[in-house]
Symmetry: C2
């Protein structure tokens, strides 16, 4: 196993929890692929032959409506799985997948996954757990779409992606703002306006990204009603 494969499988909840025998088998059956920014990983309604495990970069899962509108369903990054639900059922992909940045992914044939489940029932349980996590992520997104305003969703996104660095809370925007807006279900213009309004809540530019100087204020912002938003601040 190449060292980068080893590192990658450690970062991935599915591979790292699998038995070493299953993991070795899966990796041996797979190939590492590299995608340029914007490149297609798979297309909506193609035959779902492969599952993917992201090693690096960001992938976008999306659907195009007949009207032409694009819905960005999920954004996935290192260690996360893509296409398992579609490929394991043996039908077609329910979404398209593009590389949102240059990214590297392990391409695992669905047949190899199925064979592994058959040989190692424990691996089936791992996939079930992984699938439950997908459900959580989707549920949370529905919650925010139904209950939060655009600005609140932006604020929640920032908090979610913020990392402590030398005692400061820094968000490095993971991909272009246009894509971020689509993911949040608003237009780029609205995202721009939301970010500038958030300056009054202590979100200030810091180098490449943004600094959240007052996490409590952001938290309160997310948890306040639309009415409170109007009156307060």
């Amino acid at each position: 196993m190449q060292p980068n494969l080893f590192a990658a499988s450690n970062k991935c909840p599915v591979l790292s929890k699998a038995s070493s025998k299953s993991r070795d088998y899966l990796i041996q059956q797979s190939r590492m692929r590299r995608f340029e920014r914007g490149e297609t990983i798979f297309l909506h309604e193609d035959t779902a032959a492969n599952c993917y495990i992201l090693v690096n970069g960001w992938a976008k899962l999306y659907r195009i409506m007949p009207s032409g509108a694009e819905a960005v369903m999920r954004m996935h990054t290192s260690g996360e799985t893509i296409g398992f639900a579609d490929a394991l059922r043996g039908g077609t992909y329910q979404t398209g997948a593009d590389a949102a940045s240059e990214c590297i992914a392990l391409e695992v044939p669905a047949a190899a996954i199925r064979a592994t489940i058959a040989k190692d029932p424990e691996f089936g349980t791992i996939l079930l757990t992984n699938s439950f996590e997908q459900i959580d992520a989707l549920s949370e997104q529905i919650e925010t779409l139904k209950c939060l305003s655009g600005m609140q969703r932006v604020a929640a996104f920032l908090l979610q992606h913020a990392r402590k660095r030398q005692d400061r809370l820094i968000v490095t925007l993971p991909y272009e703002k246009g894509l971020m807006a689509a993911y949040l279900g608003i237009k780029p213009e609205s995202l721009s306006r939301a970010l500038s309004k958030l300056k009054t809540f202590g979100v200030i530019p810091a180098g490449e990204g943004l600094e959240i100087t007052d996490p409590t204020a952001i938290d309160e912002l997310i948890h306040s009603t639309m009415n409170e938003l109007r009156k307060g601040a």
Copy 2:
């Protein structure tokens, strides 16, 4: 096994696909419960000890935000499963569940499900498939929330719930309009207005429910852009 249990398990994808041995074991370990309209099935953040399989009626999965806003995540009916993702992981419920109408559900202890998976790996695969279907349903909801206007979501909901009866396409609204509005992510007032606008698209009152006289028109409505909506009609 009581005859109603037998009928119920046939209607449920999870039970009907399980081996008869597993099915009998699960049913023997479970108890049938009846919930009044509005009654709590389980609460958000309670210890997730049981899974539920709906036999009759409608259940609402929801979350309450700190602001007090309620997000209706899913509506479930006969044959569908509730709480599996939460109970199988052994944590707490990620959502609350209420009976939206009087409803009957099979209450299955999580331990019984886990034991069945251990004894019968095939059952694990059935649950995995079931979980993938949850993902599909959630994904579709996100798609509609991000890409369709309120009226389009209402129209899509009507089509989804319509059934052919004597050559006419009839929708019986499955629960109160207030709940339906929450599920669609709009306010009851907006639902009311959307429904009255849909009259011009051939959605007319028919007995207890509504008749869709021109399914093609509704389909076009759903698939047109907001711009086309403004100009046309």
